[in-house]
């Protein structure tokens, strides 16, 4: 294990975080708030720790192997969240560090699960300064496309093997590059990301949302996070805003390779992406099913409203964003079940969304189909194809193992959470599902109007790790925790 390189990379990342913290600080200054000091102090801490790591370590051997890549990804995210929690603690917005850590992990992993409550009052805004609110949502934007990817886009690392880091951080079963160089790939991804973000802000402004609210909610949508300002989430805004956010949530759940292909005018390969069609198909079918179910059993005043709420909730849950326009806790059982299933499927690989990812579900589905066929025809030969290309057997095995590990860890977290006496099965189950899939709100006590505030310290730590597991797709974090990774060979 190349400790020096690992911690030097983490040092660089903290320096980047120090720079990122200046943005909410500037926002605080604009609003003339005292929280600017909390943000600047946190930036100072990030600068000091990061600077020390970078200055002291100076690795001679800059080689990153697969192992180092996983460990860098896992530790980076933990360090990043720990430092990112400081503004909440320093400003007094969330005095307890574990709570603040939970909130920040939830931010960076684009989960959007919050321990903040607004005492249930309808439509009340969170009692936080603009600067801190900005930081809280900005973590979504940074975490969505990945901090390590951002770092690679900005600073040259001097190693050709950084693909291991990108592979550890980027979502999906197969991680490829758009252009030969990793750094250029990272730049292109961030440019697309930034471009879509700007377009959404403009759309929301036109639809009548105030500038600060537009920024906060765009960050939440772009990273498929879900932190908002009001207890009623997006329900606070007009129908136009809700439709805009519905569409953009869907757009950010699409594999960014598709946008790149569209940009270079390769329309045919972009639109023949099978994952995209399945993703859209599942979404439309779910909207239709829920609309029918809700319309017959618990109708809103107009049909448009029913469709709007169904579409919004489906888009929000499937892309693992976690915004809400209505309390879907009150929906009929069938609709709730559809939403819970969507939680697991998640968005496309290579998007900012979480969950198992549509392509992985496709892959494992095909592998299962092949096994069934093999049982009937023992001599049949099966090759699995994805996007018109043969998938390596090792990738199929890795995806199957992923699913098994995923449910094992899911079960473990669920078991630990059930130690809490105060919550029912539905709340605990959906709390773990909402965290490990990076969604945010679940059902029952953790529904769209509820919060995670009443969970104990252990449960909050467990849920924080569930969120990190989900965002980093399990392997990096698990490998970083294995003792064998750290011992000398």
């Amino acid at each position: 294990m190349n400790y020096r390189m690992v911690f030097s990379m983490i040092g660089r990342l903290l320096l980047l975080e120090a720079v990122l913290l200046l943005l909410p600080a500037a926002c605080s200054v604009l609003y003339g708030e005292s929280s600017v000091w909390a943000l600047l102090a946190s930036a100072g801490v990030a600068l000091a720790v990061g600077g020390l790591l970078v200055l002291i370590l100076r690795p001679k051997n800059k080689t990153i192997y697969a192992k180092e890549g996983f460990v860098i990804a896992a530790l980076s995210w933990i360090f990043l969240s720990a430092v990112g929690a400081l503004p909440f603690v320093f400003s007094g917005a969330i005095p307890n560090f574990v709570d603040a850590f939970f909130e920040t992990v939830s931010g960076f992993t684009t989960t959007g699960a919050s321990i903040l409550t607004t005492l249930g009052a309808h439509g009340e805004a969170l009692a936080m300064s603009h600067g801190i609110l900005f930081w809280r949502s900005f973590t979504h934007w940074v975490g969505g496309m990945g901090v390590l990817v951002l770092m690679m886009a900005l600073v040259p690392t001097g190693s050709g093997r950084t693909i291991h880091v990108m592979r550890a951080e980027a979502p999906g079963p197969i991680v490829g590059k758009l252009v030969p160089r990793l750094r250029d790939t990272a730049k292109i991804l961030y440019l697309i990301y930034f471009g879509l973000t700007v377009i959404q802000v403009i759309c929301l402004l036109v639809a009548g949302m105030p500038l600060f609210d537009s920024l906060v909610h765009t960050f939440g949508t772009a990273g498929t996070g879900g932190f908002g300002i009001y207890s009623t989430s997006i329900g606070e805004y007009n129908a136009a805003c809700q439709w805009i956010i519905t569409v953009f949530m869907w757009l950010f759940g699409v594999n960014f390779n598709v946008y790149y292909l569209l940009l270079i005018r390769a329309f045919r390969p972009a639109l023949s992406n099978r994952e995209l069609w399945l993703y859209g198909g599942i979404m439309l079918a779910s909207v239709a099913a829920i609309t029918a179910n809700v319309w017959t059993q618990m109708p809103y005043t107009t049909f448009e409203e029913t469709v709007r709420h169904s579409a919004f909730q489906v888009s929000s849950i499937m892309t693992t964003t976690g915004y809400a326009t209505t309390d879907f806790n009150l929906w009929p059982m069938f609709s709730k079940c559809v939403l819970v299933l969507l939680m697991f499927i998640g968005a496309c690989a290579g998007s900012t969304g979480g969950g198992l990812k549509v392509s992985r579900v496709m892959l494992v589905g095909k592998a299962v189909g092949r096994e069934l066929k093999r049982l009937v025809h023992p001599r049949s030969v099966g090759v699995i194809r994805l996007e018109g290309k043969r998938v390596e057997e090792s990738v199929v095995q890795s995806a199957t193992a992923y699913i098994v590990l995923y449910f094992l860890l899911f079960g473990g977290a669920f078991l630990l959470l059930c130690l809490e006496p105060a919550f029912d099965l539905e709340s605990n189950f959906t709390a773990v599902a909402a965290c490990i899939n990076n969604i945010g709100p679940g059902l029952g006590a953790v529904g769209p109007t509820g919060s995670y505030a009443d969970y104990g310290t252990l449960s909050k730590v467990v849920l924080s790790f569930a969120m990190l597991l989900g965002r980093l797709e399990i392997y990096p974090l698990v490998l970083a925790l294995l003792p064998g990774t750290w011992t000398k060979e």
């Binding site: 697969a66 050709g160 093997r161 950084t162 693909i163 291991h164 490829g176 590059k177 758009l178 252009v179 030969p180 160089r181 990793l182 750094r183 250029d184 290309k389 390596e392």
Partner: protein
Amino acid sequence: MNIIVVGCGKIGTTVLESLVEEGHNVTVVDIRPLPLTNITNIYDVMTVCGNGADCETLAEAGVADADLVVAATGSDEVNMLCCHVAKKMGAPNTVARIRKTEFNDDSLVKMKELLDLSLAINPDRLAALEIYHILRLPAAVKLETFARGNFEMIEIKLKEDSPFVGTPLYALRDKLKATFLVCVVQRGDEVFIPGGDFVLQDGDRIGITAKHRELQKLLRNMGTKRKQARKVMILGGSRTAFYLAKRLLAAGTEVKIIDEDRERCEALCELLPAASIICGDGTQQELLLEEGLDSMDAFVSLTGLDEQNILLAFFAAAHRVAKVIPKVNRKEQGSLAEQLGLETVVSPRKIVADMLAQHARALENSMGSNVETLYRLMDDGAEALEFNVKDDPRLVNIPLKTMQLKRQVLVAGIIRGREAVIPTGDDVILPGDKVVVITVAGRLNDLSDILK
């Protein structure tokens, strides 16, 4: 530049490594997925899995925007087809590896013309050529020529009794009565450009530039007894052996080739009637001695196994063969052999990689760079570049000693028309000259880059 490398075998991998180091955007195409995965783990390149001669694969690799396509698969025919298709699809420059002996020198030139290739590379022939050059001048570790052979650069490894050792560089020209320039020194792992009062030591590897005639004079005055090799033993009847033997025989050298394979021996016998061909196991020391290893001037091992080549080279060196040259394909083994004391190791992969890096820089000419030829010296620690001089007021007509040059850059030669000048501080560069620059630090794209 955007470069596509088709085929990631031994040659392909070395080529892409050197191109990535040069800072190009490289896409690699291969039909086997496994080596591609390994390559993405090590190098910052994009990979496409598919047949390199297929237009769809090439389109996926972005052939329309590529500046250069290098076809280096194991099959000549695929390489040629790949280059042809790539050219039709819009790649302006194509390079094919063509190695079969039926594509001999004449047909290679014709093929290059017909397929409109920028370069047709035959690694075996190139390796043979390099070995041939070294055998002509056995004192040198390596020899490079500039300006069509007017101007040469040799690398020498210094031994204790060498006249270079112990005298400051400024006094060497008088001592050895020849005009030359010691332009680069490798001591241990460090490569640097020495100053005038630098004193060389035993074990240093040095680069010397001189005109061809002066170089011969220098080597004579050095008192080196090693003359041009007259009797050469070649182990392994590979294609490289064939090309080398052909050249050596043409120059009147006695050549003995040893190979185990009867058919191969007979084929060689038919192609090279003047050579003496021995069919037998060359790894048997008895056989080598029986065939007169002791009386050979040079021993070249060209079998397919690096380890065998290195070990037999040591064996030959122990029997006082004046010059031993093993062919070594793997980079690591080459440097290991050098560390163990073999001064000359020839690697076809490296020759091809250098040639392509040079070609890529020459292509960049039209994109602002100005490099005419490029050689990598001292195990890639230094570069020698040949520039065309344009009418740049910062460079032209200024005595070299008053020029503010970067550190670790040296003007090693000026070629004016047919005359080569080994410059002193009073010499000036004129428009239309060619200038050879040695650098050990950083990359030069234009002659003006040598200025501070």
